[in-house]
Amino acid sequence: MSGPARAPDGSVLTLAAEVRRGHVSAVDVAKSTLEALADRDTELNCFTDVYEDRALHDARRVDTAVAGGRDPGPLAGVPFAVKSLFQVEGARTQAGSVIQMQRPPASQDAAAVARLRDAGAVLVGATNMDEYAHGFTTENAHYGTTRNPHDRERIAGGSSGGSAAAVAAGLVPLALGSDTNGSIRVPASLCGVFGIKPTFGRVSRAGSVLFVTSLDHVGSFARSTADLAASYDALAGFDPADPVSSDRVVEPCASVLGLGVDDLRLAVVGDFFHRVADGSATEAVQKVAAALDVDREVVLAGSRRACAAASIITSAEAGQRHATALRIRASDYDPNVRPGLLAGMLLPALPYLAAQRFRSSYREQVREAFRDVDVLVTATTPCVAPMIGQRTMDVDGEELLVGMSLGLLTQPWSLLGLPALSVPLNGPDDLPIGVQLVAPPFQEASLFRTAAALEAAGVLAVPGAL
């Protein structure tokens, strides 16, 4: 069995340093990664497209820069994958749909793809997802189900499930995803990798197929805090091509990982966030709280309403976005996605406006909580990965749809555009489960410092080769 070329410690930054020094060829890294994809992805179904020619071309460009004494970038030669909703020059932007495939190939890379490429990283392929990012399971009627590398009979989570599973399986060390209600954090939790959803507007969405305009975020997956921070530093920044992009100065995160958390005020979120989490999720939060010596709990009374508001805004905006296509070619949609989009399209304006109004008041409530807290801690998902095909799950004594309930702990934060980072822990039966760290807007550095402290304390599960 082949495997992707790795640095001895598995670190992206070590690999990039080796490439930059000319000790390792970016082309060799790309070739071994492509061999691993061909060899190992058949069963997992992480990838929907592999860009072999482009990967080798970009890798040669890196090697040429190194040979010529030019700076190839901080992520020189590091292979990465992208959720299939990002534009890749010369390729059709699938977004998990067949409708997209009848559109012309992209004339340029999405901004996030371009930023990683500018940093020297090498794109190797596009990954599977729920159609148009509508879902939490990556069970796609057109392109199949992505299997969880920890248990092939379980889902990888979604909607960025292909990216999370590819990183968890060690097929690539970095991957891009998008997160509307939890679509980075949920699969990160279920696959046992690190995932960051930065502040709304911190990473450009230009060149990505949007799902819900007022909730969509771009972020990344990695196998360690340092790798995730390196990708975040490369991705973050103002982009005039994205109307919601922030021009606030970016605080680098890779350089602050060793600062510790002594000056950070941490608290676990209780009530709703505790009731929705099952035993494994609660135990994971307790481990993190114990490691960080957190004895404070805060309650955000409106959190159930926040989930309801996020669901209404999602359905209404997504329904509107797909209104034209739903009128003329509804049968081309994934049958598991189409009813939700149609229902959102038919929704009256009043619930949508009430949801947006509630969003404003909930923001004030959470802002108040952050007056004397720097990082909030919750479980990322209510439970470990459900089985493939499982339709319902027990949440707080209530039988709820898997497809809507896996995001109950992530939705409140994306509703407010807050940065959130999921770290992996070991759950029952060798299945991973994530704990979510949440900070005020643009305070990503606090999240990375906390994640690094947990990593140093030995609390986190280190993703192995699966």
């Binding site: 502040t199 709304f200 508001a309 739903l326 009813p339 109004r357």
Partner: protein, 58 residues
């Protein structure tokens, strides 16, 4: 004073008709179920009329 008496399925069909959307009969039960979920979420949010206007900033 008039009050409609449509059940949820009829209401979904009426809304679809207003928006010129043709619903596949095989989708009807799922669309109605999703619509019901969303209206249930509206009940969870409740009356937000007195809360601040929707100006979104992170």
């Amino acid at each position: 004073m008039m009050r409609g008496s449509l059940d949820r399925t009829a209401a979904v069909l009426a809304a679809a008709d207003l928006l010129d959307i043709v619903l596949d009969p095989d989708d009807m039960s799922a669309v109605v179920a999703h619509f019901g979920l969303l209206m249930g979420f509206a009940d969870v949010i409740g009356d937000a009329d007195t809360e601040p206007a929707p100006v979104f900033r992170p």
